[in-house]
Assembly symmetry: C2
Homo-oligomer: 316 residues x 2
Amino acid sequence: MERELVEWLRSRLPPASTEVALGPGDDAAVLAPSGDRGLVVTTDMLMDGVDFRLDELDPRRAGRKSLAVNLSDLAAMAAQPTAAFVSLALPRSGAAGLDALELAKRLYEGLLPLADEFGVVIAGGDTNTWDGPLVVSVTAVGKTTARGPLLRSGARPGDALVVTGSFGGSILGKHLDFTPRVREALLLHELYGVHAAMDVSDGLSLDLSRLCAESGCGAFVRSWEIPVDDAADRLAETKPGGGDAISHALGDGEDFELLLAMPFDDAERAVKDRAIGDVPLTIVGGFVAEHGLWDVDPKGQRKPLAPRGYLHGADS
Amino acid sequence: MERELVEWLRSRLPPASTEVALGPGDDAAVLAPSGDRGLVVTTDMLMDGVDFRLDELDPRRAGRKSLAVNLSDLAAMAAQPTAAFVSLALPRSGAAGLDALELAKRLYEGLLPLADEFGVVIAGGDTNTWDGPLVVSVTAVGKTTARGPLLRSGARPGDALVVTGSFGGSILGKHLDFTPRVREALLLHELYGVHAAMDVSDGLSLDLSRLCAESGCGAFVRSWEIPVDDAADRLAETKPGGGDAISHALGDGEDFELLLAMPFDDAERAVKDRAIGDVPLTIVGGFVAEHGLWDVDPKGQRKPLAPRGYLHGADS
């Protein structure tokens, strides 16, 4: 089946790009020399029943998500995506009413438009069938810009904590259909000072605590200024025991928005400029020398903020 | 668990390499700029029950194989390995008598020595637990040499068909414990003319037919000159219905040896020079303009040779 799928894919892929000298079909792909630019590489593995449920959704959305989560990681580094590699373990007997080959094509039909949108060439992969559930593993490659990559470790006391988009309730759909903030990261990195960045995959407060740990500092959040997604409101209403909307915004995973550490002046200018167009850009707090996380209320009172979010692995 | 494993891994990884500017721990890895060298990228996904059986082997061998198959692909391109990314879907309740974390460590204990041996830095990955069996997905990155990559498409009529090592019966152990022919490929590519290369993962005759298809030519094999692995002999003896040793050499998968197309003079010189030391290097046939595969007997009689080997996917 692998060869049939490769033929099908080859017919759908754009002709050779300047970034991919040799695509699928040989023992490996060859990417163009990167000159003096660093190459950014990230990989994520998604599994049926964990990251999506094939019995509940169109497989195109699962395929799209598999690439999108990787592009979100590239965005967090302010890297320009160039290529991706897609490996599949397909259930031998198919899934979602499709045989294995049709399932694979459906996954790609969700993935390829996103790849096109972000200039990503599918340069290779590995297709398998087995007796287990669907696994999709994507590796994405990008190039740093002349300004270099954005790391988690660059936040400094005094920086503003800035976020893109809105938070909470992504389980209602955004965790599948989000737009990775690649363009936003590149724009901000090019036009403003940005000291650190990270994408929110496990939860705003948990990921913020990680960014602080890597930067060796602490942070405060004015949680009442966090842009709360409508989905978080809906979730709070329909699941009364699960916390209010702000709790969802602080602790739900898979927002795939950016956390940014920016000098306050740059942050205020970027917000005023509407630097990333219709995508909200909001200053929600700041970084401090003291280690820890705090929530600051409108009166300036601070209380400790416990990092919450999705921890990988049953025993973590 | 992911963070615990990353900490454990960080303590075992060599300090930053010149090829990896930023390793595990951020949103993505940053590889050093490649200057004017092409970057070669390959990825393989291995699954419990398909590529190895955790109930029958030490997980270290599964971990080692997961990297080795990727290095074999880099060898087939004559690329110098630099970095690898390792993604795991670990069974939540563990396997082989180990819990998920211990299983992950055992996999790495098999993988890391091979990485060291070939100068590969583990630059990132993704660790997950789920209710399915173990899946290991590795992406390996290498650099082409000044001579560029070796492709499947470069074989020309008149070239010798040269193979490294010996063939057949890998299921008895070599499929787990083989040495990827990275050093051999780099040596041959540097010192001799090599027009095309491919590693044998699915079977000598099947993979040869693919190399021919990409090169737009045919090939003949003197099957009696193919170095037959002892394991192929043992398999032929213990499984009387499964064909003779040469059939195993021609059709068994996972030899992970190299097929090379070399000008005859270069091939003869490389054999005479013992160019790759103790690893056998053997001229077993040649490439011809006419499409197809033939087996030529010691008297020069030729008969068609049907490509045989492992086809991926149940429906292929």
